[in-house]
């Protein structure tokens, strides 16, 4: 049964198992999208926001007219909710820089290399955080969550070519900012 048929059946019968099917079918992508919007510093928030997204979906299910695909509607809702959460969190909490999160990275053998590597990571993390929502999300999905271009395209509801273009523009922006900051190793 596809999403639209599942929704119609759920609205008719109110059988919770049908809604569970929808959640299980989409939870991975919604979670990745939310996580990519919030970044590595807000892993726990991503769980919470994902739950909120599905609760909101449940509330609005009756207003879903089927004009767009359910997946696109759901991911748009998740994207908006994550953006809203990020804005509110930014007002409410002090910003935790991405480099402050413990990493599973291997430590460089040479202490000088280690320092240089740490500095590079700090700069890159700071620059990525400055990117506009969509570009930052694409960068996190691709490099952190290791999503394929096709997965990102489906999640964002855009063609693969557009995702590639977002990635390319995001990288270009990072390069430009690094150049402006005098960070020659990124050029």
């Amino acid at each position: 049964m596809d999403d639209e048929a599942t929704i119609a059946e759920y609205l008719r019968t109110r059988e919770p198992e049908l809604f569970r099917v929808l959640v299980e079918r989409h939870q991975g992508r919604v979670f990745r999208l939310v996580a990519s919007m919030l970044g590595p510093q807000a892993d726990l928030d991503a769980q919470e926001v994902t739950q909120e997204v599905f609760l909101r979906v449940h509330e609005k299910l009756e207003s879903f007219r089927g004009e767009a695909r359910f997946g696109s509607w759901l991911y748009r809702l998740a994207y908006n909710r994550a953006v809203e959460h990020r804005r509110r969190a930014r007002i409410r909490l002090p910003h935790v820089p991405v480099e402050a999160v413990p990493e599973a990275a291997a430590v460089a053998a040479d202490p000088f290399d280690e320092v240089a590597e740490g500095e590079r990571r700090r700069v890159v993390a700071r620059l990525v955080e400055r990117l506009p929502d969509l570009y930052r999300s694409v960068i996190y999905m691709h490099y952190w969550l290791e999503c394929s271009v096709e997965e990102m395209a489906e999640t964002l509801g855009v063609p693969s070519g557009t995702v590639k273009s977002y990635l390319s523009r995001a990288r270009q922006r990072l390069r430009d900012w690094a150049k402006a900051d005098g960070t020659e190793w990124l050029e």
């Binding site: 919770p16 809604f19 569970r20 959640v23 299980e24 939870q27 991975g28 979670f31 996580a35 590595p40 892993d43 991503a46 769980q47 994902t50 739950q51 599905f54 609760l55 449940h58 509330e59 991405v98 999160v101 990493e103 599973a104 990275a105 590597e117 590079r120 990571r121 890159v124 993390a125 990525v128 960068i139 996190y140 490099y143 952190w144 969550l145 290791e146 990288r171 990072l174 390069r175 190793w185 990124l186 050029e187």
Partner: protein, 125 residues
């Protein structure tokens, strides 16, 4: 140049642990949906009860006003209003007390009517 930034981004971000959705996410969502639905139903029932109470109060008010108007138009003797006031001042507090303290009211009623009941039993058949 593309490779350089690609490599740095990969090294910087891939080193962070990749989050996974909680294995109980679907169950948690369903549980929250159930709680929300129940809370909403409770609120709806309360709203309906409140509405019913308002309608009932309006009905009793209209009935009282109507009754008072009818009673007032009747050809009462001079002592009529005094009797009515007496009844109102006795029956209303008694009814109220019976509603609030039914056991005490029953005890008081038993005490008041006891002599009458005793007398009635004592009468020859």
């Amino acid at each position: 140049m593309e490779d350089r930034i690609d490599e740095i981004l990969r090294r910087t971000l891939a080193s962070h642990p990749r989050p996974q959705p909680s294995p109980t996410l679907a169950a948690d969502v369903l549980e929250n949906v159930r709680k929300l639905t129940a809370a909403r139903q409770r609120a709806e029932e309360q709203r309906q009860r409140h509405g019913a109470r308002l309608v009932l109060a309006a009905y009793w008010f209209a009935a009282s006003v109507g009754s008072a108007w009818i009673v007032q138009t009747l050809p009462w003797p001079v002592w009529g209003p005094a009797v009515l006031w007496g009844l109102a001042l006795t029956v209303v507090p008694l009814g109220y007390a019976t509603f609030l303290w039914p056991q005490s009211a029953a005890r008081w009623a038993a005490l008041c009517f006891k002599p009458l009941l005793v007398d009635a039993r004592g009468e020859p058949s």
